[in-house]
């Protein structure tokens, strides 16, 4: 279905879709299985300005919005080659730097993030805090003009591809328990920066890591934004993250649905295409409806964010992420079922998504935490935790 978008957004979708088709799901799976990365596609998308659509023009970007970036992410996913690091490097890191970085930080980092030549990872989750960002223990201590940073992070995507990680920490003099997150750009080659890959069953070119931050010395200008800005600058990055995570899931859902529909139309048993049977067609129609509803909410969340309404965007982005996560899990499941045994084959390119689609329900914030948020903030119900 056509979203209520500008001609330029539609043209962007068409161009990205053509680029994605050149690579496709085979490229994605090959990169994943051979331990490679999807660097060629990342670089190509970067050169064409697709990874920096939302970065201001004066810093080498396209001057568009998060809605444009989400369109890029969705179309690559629909072509079978989603780029997970889009959720992190351009969406979170470039956005936070754009909104809260100093002029010097923006000049230094944004052009490379916009054209994809630089990749930043993002680290918030900790082993003992999980989704509870109020209990972060990664701590920054003043050290002359600079800082010293210690702590642990887990499930951080793409650290092996990143030259720096935007790390969420807290300042040491805030031991009272009140959350006061601060953000640091931490180079991955800094002394004291340790990583350990987390083996997962995800078929994806991007890998997951534990981070060990052992008394890392950082210069004063590694701090992004004000040490007193608090939650707002964190949320500036987390709303785009959720919007992009929705687009990532919905691209994958569209890819799976298109495969299923094609199979249902062409696979004939006893002289009839299996898609003529309602046991096949109705579940696919239901998946299509859920995908389109989630696309609309994602579009809505991006429009609110791009209009500067962070608070309303937060609610819509959570709802979009919930809907997209449910839609992709259901759609990939149904696409595999439609294919019967072929759904599990390598040739049909769907089984690879069985685990990856669950990511949409779990990350970057779980379905359950979104329901908590909606129950408490949208419905005004008592806090559950």
């Amino acid at each position: 279905m056509t979203l209520p978008e500008t001609d330029e957004r539609r043209a962007l979708r068409e161009a990205v879709s053509a680029l994605g088709a050149e690579y496709g799901h085979d490229y994605y799976v090959r990169s994943a299985r051979e331990g490679g990365r999807s660097t060629e596609l990342w670089r190509a998308a970067g050169r064409l300005g697709y990874l920096g659509v939302h970065v201001p023009v004066e810093y080498g970007g396209g001057g568009g919005g998060i809605g444009d970036l989400a369109a890029v992410c969705e179309e690559l996913g629909a072509a079978g080659c989603p780029l997970l690091l889009m959720v992190v490097s351009p969406a979170i890191c470039a956005t936070v730097l754009t909104r809260f970085g100093t002029d010097e930080q923006k000049r230094r980092w944004l052009p490379g993030l916009a054209d994809g030549s630089r990749v930043f990872a993002f680290a918030i989750t900790e082993p003992d805090a999980g989704s509870n960002s109020h209990q972060l223990t990664t701590t920054a201590t003043r050290d002359g003009d600079g800082w010293r940073l210690s702590g642990r992070k887990t499930y951080i995507s793409g650290v092996d591809e990143a030259e720096a990680v935007l790390v969420v920490a807290r300042t040491a003099d805030e031991r009272t328990g009140r959350l006061k997150p601060v953000l640091f750009v931490v180079p991955t080659d800094a002394p004291g920066f340790g990583t350990s890959p987390i083996p997962t069953e995800l078929v994806a070119p991007e890998r997951q890591f534990d981070l060990f931050l052992d008394d890392i010395a950082l210069p004063g200008d590694a701090l992004v934004g004000s040490p007193d800005a608090g939650l707002m600058q964190l949320f500036a990055g987390l709303n785009p993250e959720r919007i992009l995570a929705s687009a990532f899931a919905l691209g994958m859902a569209r890819y799976a649905l298109a495969k299923a529909v094609d199979y249902a139309r062409t696979r004939s048993v006893w002289g009839t295409p299996i898609g003529a049977h309602q046991a096949i067609s109705h579940p696919l129609a239901a998946c299509h409806i859920e995908v389109e509803l989630a696309r609309l909410m994602t579009h809505h969340a991006a429009a609110l964010y791009d209009a500067g309404d962070d608070q309303a965007a937060g609610e819509a982005a959570n709802m979009a992420k919930y809907a997209a996560g449910e839609a992709v899990v259901k759609t990939v499941d149904q696409a595999v079922q439609t294919h019967g045994g072929n759904g599990l084959s390598t040739e049909y390119g769907l089984a690879t998504l069985l685990v990856a689609s669950r990511l949409g329900r779990i990350a970057p914030v779980s379905r359950e935490m979104i329901l908590n948020f909606v129950a408490q903030h949208s419905l005004g119900l008592p806090r559950s935790y």
């Binding site: 001609d7 330029e8 043209a11 962007l12 068409e14 161009a15 053509a18 680029l19 050169r47 064409l48 300005g49 697709y50 920096g52 659509v53 396209g62 001057g63 568009g64 444009d68």
Partner: protein, 259 residues
Amino acid sequence: MKIVVLVKQVPDSGAERNLRADDNSVDRASANNVINEMDEYAIEEALRLQEAHGGEVTVLTMGPDRATESIRKALSMGPDGAVHVLDDALPGTDYLGTSRVLAAAIGTLSPDLVICGAEATDARGQVMAHMLAERLGFAALTGARKLTVEGAQLTVERQTEEGYEVVTAATPAVVSVWDTINEPRYPSFKGIMAAKKKPVDTKSLADLGVSADQVGWGGSATTVLSHSKRPARSAGVKVTDSGEGGVALVDYLSSEKFV
């Protein structure tokens, strides 16, 4: 170097295409209309020449209102501007009439070089470059798989069934290209955003000094009298292998003179 690139909007060749029952013309209303694929190679070649030698690239399209979409798409790849020949008298115009209109439009632009696709996927006539060269008094270098420019000297590798011919000419010239000549770029985001702001000069037949009775259904020298659907594919021969399958296959192939 001043370059004009011809861009035609055609029904997507990836989908089913039809001719209209009433006037035997291409059914464009129910089709997904896109830039003729070969024209993207022409645009790419023009942009590469511009990058190497400077100058200006102008897209020229003759077509209905909705051809604007294809003009914007073409401009998003990088050309500087476009001329859109738009006139209610144009539907039904054949090759000769089209070449008359395009030649008149090219005449107002005085280019050094006209580049076009070797054929359009709807009619596949492969004659437009020749007709334009004749009308304009330009050299015709057709079917190029490689184009080199040194000053006013053009060298083309002209693709043939057996290999290629090397053909040279001086500007002004019309060059038609095959899809072997380059790999067209994807529009960049900046290109997409800039496309709407680029000038598109809409010209009527009157602007070009072409009279309405030289074009359209009435002004065409050729008429399509009738058309029929391509015959359905026949079932073919199924060889069941019961030990002699190989022999049966070779018998079939030799009966069809394939071996």
